[in-house]
Each structure stands twice: as C-alpha cells, then as structure tokens.
C-alpha cells in the first residue's frame, strides 16, 4: 500500500522541533529513521497529519563519553553502534546486539531513540538498555527529565513519553572491563523480530547483575530473583530454571502459553550460561 497523505517539515533545531510538536497537537509525530513509522504508514496503520523530521538535528546525533557513562543521542543509528563509530559503554554487547537487529539497510536509518519510543515488545534496545540500567533523557515543553529505561517502557507500544515530549538521548552506565554479558535472540529467520530475547549483564566490580527477557508479551521483563541468583554463580541447572520460571510466572501484567514460557526460560538459561564459565 501507499502511505496516506501527510505534511512534512524538517526543523533546524531541537527547540524548533518541540515548538512544532506542541503546535501540531495529536496530528504531529516526530520521525527519525522512519523504519517503523513508514512501514506502518505504508500499511495504513498510522496516519499522522504532520511529520516532524528530527533525523538530522545535531543535538540528537551526539555521542558523549563521560567518566562513568556514555550518552547516545536519540538519532544515533543502529549501524553506527554496530560499526563502533560511537563510544561503547558496554564492552561489545551493544555492537553485538546491533548486528542482529533487522537488516543492514534498516540499521543505517533506524535509530536507538526510535526503537525506545516505539517500544515494540520484540525490539532489542528496550530489553538491552533495561539490562544495562540505562536512562532515557526526555525533553519537552516542561524541560528535561530522566527516567530509568525499566520505568520508561510500560507495555506493548506503551511508554511514559508525554505529549509534546521527545527522547533526546539514552545515558548508559559504563560497564567494568571484567563484565560478562550474555545475549540470546531466538528467531527462525535472520533479522526478523525475536521470538524470545534474553540479556544478562554481570558486573561484579560494580555489584551489578541483571537478567532481562524481551519479546515477552509486554515491556522488557527484569527477572529479579534470577538476577540475584546469577550473582551467586549458580551451579545447579534445575535451580536456575526454577528461578527463571518463577520470575516469569510472577509477571502479573502478562500471560505466556506453555511454548512461550519454555522458550523464554531456555533463552534466559542460555544467556546466563554465557556469563557463568
């Protein structure tokens, strides 16, 4: 199908973009890489009145390397992360993840901010950034605010992004050099959306362990008990499986059928195994 009629404007600054967004009301939509939004418009599943193109705003293309974190502008592309063209706080995890995201021609346009704002349940960045304890910095008519990624994504295509607010950047704490990471994406066809996604970060020096399941019928799921168990370097595979299963069962905001529950469990077990060795 062809996209429905729409207006388009490309502001020259972030402030101008926010003004346009505020004035456009419900009809206004920011567009960065457009890889998700244009696909939806081509299927006539979305028909905004005005596209506000933020893809080239210099404020959103930064990659700042601080002492303890890296701040990536919302319009940094997946390809830039894959290629290591921006600072990497994750000692290789983020480039490794980026390489599995869709296809190269999508990655050259799609952005990390776009992925976070859309909150597709099967997307990679919301799960990975939750595992990395990252924050989103939001910028709107009432100024800037920061939210943990784990709080920002609230459900399927649902976030705490307010009206007239955009994602300005993601701030990712730097992992220690000795950090071990696990990443498992289960899907049948290379590049398709995940059927199950598991991310494990084990950073003992910073006392930080986290296990997250993505493609999990809702916002990325932090497996709290499993995260604590990983810190103890568990040797008992049944205990690990059991704890994962219990964490999945306690996710009250969603339901898994038998196949899905098993798949997420296996993904999480294997991601944990990448970390324990």
């Amino acid at each position: 199908m062809k996209a429905p009629p729409v207006d388009y404007i490309r502001p020259r600054s972030l402030t101008e973009a926010l003004d346009l967004l505020a004035n456009a009301g419900a009809e206004g939509r920011v567009i960065a890489g457009g890889q998700s939004l244009l696909a939806m418009m081509n299927l006539r599943l979305a028909s905004p009145g005005l596209l506000i193109d933020i893809a080239r705003l210099p404020e959103l293309l930064t990659a700042a390397d601080h002492d303890d974190a890296v701040t990536l502008g919302a319009c940094v592309t997946h390809a830039a992360i894959e290629d290591g063209r921006v600072a990497d706080p994750s000692h290789g995890l983020m480039p490794r993840v980026a390489a599995t995201l869709a296809y190269r021609a999508i990655r050259t346009r799609g952005t990390i901010g776009g992925s976070l704002a859309l909150a597709d349940p099967a997307a990679e960045w919301p799960a990975v950034l939750s595992a990395l304890d990252a924050e989103v910095i939001l910028y709107g008519s009432s100024g800037r605010r920061e939210l943990k990624c784990t709080e920002f994504t609230t459900g399927i295509f649902q976030t705490k992004l307010a009206e007239n607010e955009i994602i300005e950047s993601a701030r990712v704490p730097k992992l220690s050099a000795e950090t071990r990471c696990g990443y498992v994406k289960l899907c049948r066809k290379s590049g398709e959306f995940a059927n199950a996604l598991a991310v494990v970060v084990a950073d003992p020096r910073r006392g930080y362990w986290r296990v997250v399941c993505g493609a999990a019928n809702g916002a990325p799921l932090v497996l709290a008990n499993t995260s604590r168990l990983v810190a103890e370097a568990p040797r008992d595979p049944d205990a690990l499986r059991g704890t994962i299963g219990s964490d999945l069962d306690h996710a009250s905001d969603r339901h898994f059928d038998e196949f899905q529950r098993n798949l997420h469990t296996v993904a999480a077990v294997r991601a944990v195994q990448q970390v324990l060795v």
């Binding site: 062809k2 996209a3 457009g34 244009l38 193109d53 296809y103 021609a105």
Partner: protein, 161 residues
C-alpha cells in the same frame, strides 16, 4: 508539495514532491529510474535497496522529502565502479540471477558487504544477504558469485585492506 534537491547518481535533481512519496516511487515514477524494484513496501524483501549517502537503505521506507540535500545511488549509476563491475561479471558467470527482479538490490548489497569487508566467508556472506530475498535462485550461486568478486577485489587492492 515540497521542494527538494537530491543528488542522484552524481547529478543534481530539483523537484516538487508530495511528502508521502517514498524515495522508491520518486525514483521510479518521477525520475524514470525503474531499476529499483518494489516487492513488499515494508522493508523485508530488500528489492528496493539503494545507497543513501553511501549506505544501503530501503527506498520503500525512505521519504523522498527526507532525501533533500542527500546523495542517492541506484543501479543505473555506479559508472566505473570496480566492485559493481566485478560483481556483474561474476553474477553472469555463476548464473546468480534468473528473473532479475532481486538483482539490482543484490548487487548494491553485495558491493556494500565487500567494501565493509563482510564477504570473507560463506557464512558471512549468507548473513549479509539476510535482508535480500530471492525467490528463483536458491542463493547458492549468488553466494559463490559474491565470494569470487570479493576475492578479485581483494587481489586488485591488497594495500587497501
């Protein structure tokens, strides 16, 4: 209608386009560059792949208006490009095309793999082609052709490694 200026295959083009017009339709319908093909318009099949500012992009998921002040290269370009020339030779010799519909995009994707040195093994090439569907060939000959072209290019410019 929105005024745009785009560099297409090295030549400056000025036009007025409806904002909803995709880059693919802009190229095909307004510039008569029909070598770029449409197979799905949701970014999966890859038949519409062109270069935008030197990087592969889905022209079906790119607005023409978003290409204002950008450079676009399509299969009709690449004059004198040694990688495309090598790929054309090996695709022909290895029977890496049948109906031809996926071929322009395959060549552009393959060229990108070779330039980014992601065509060093069969596994790497197959992974790099994940975003380009072919319904006719079964891919075996495409992979062989790309591997041969990559070897040729590597031999011709060993210092560029």
């Amino acid at each position: 209608m929105t005024a745009i200026r785009v560099r297409i295959n090295g030549g400056e083009v000025a036009d007025d386009v409806p904002p909803r017009l995709s880059l693919a339709d802009f190229l095909r319908e307004r510039r008569n560059l029909t070598g770029t093909h449409l197979g799905c318009e949701h970014g999966v099949c890859g038949a519409c792949t062109v270069l935008v500012d030197g990087e592969p992009a889905r022209s079906c998921l790119t607005l023409a208006v978003a290409c204002d002040e950008r450079a676009v290269e399509t299969i009709e370009g690449f004059a004198g490009d040694p990688v495309i020339a090598a790929l054309r030779r090996t695709f022909h010799q290895r029977h890496a095309l049948q109906c031809g519909y996926c071929t322009p995009a395959m060549l552009i994707t393959a060229r990108d793999l070779i330039l980014r040195q992601r065509a060093g093994s069969e596994r790497e090439i197959r992974d790099g082609l994940a975003g380009n569907i072919c319904r006719c060939t079964g891919y075996t000959n495409i992979v062989t052709a790309i591997a041969e072209a990559a070897n040729e290019i590597a031999k011709e410019a060993p210092n560029a490694q």
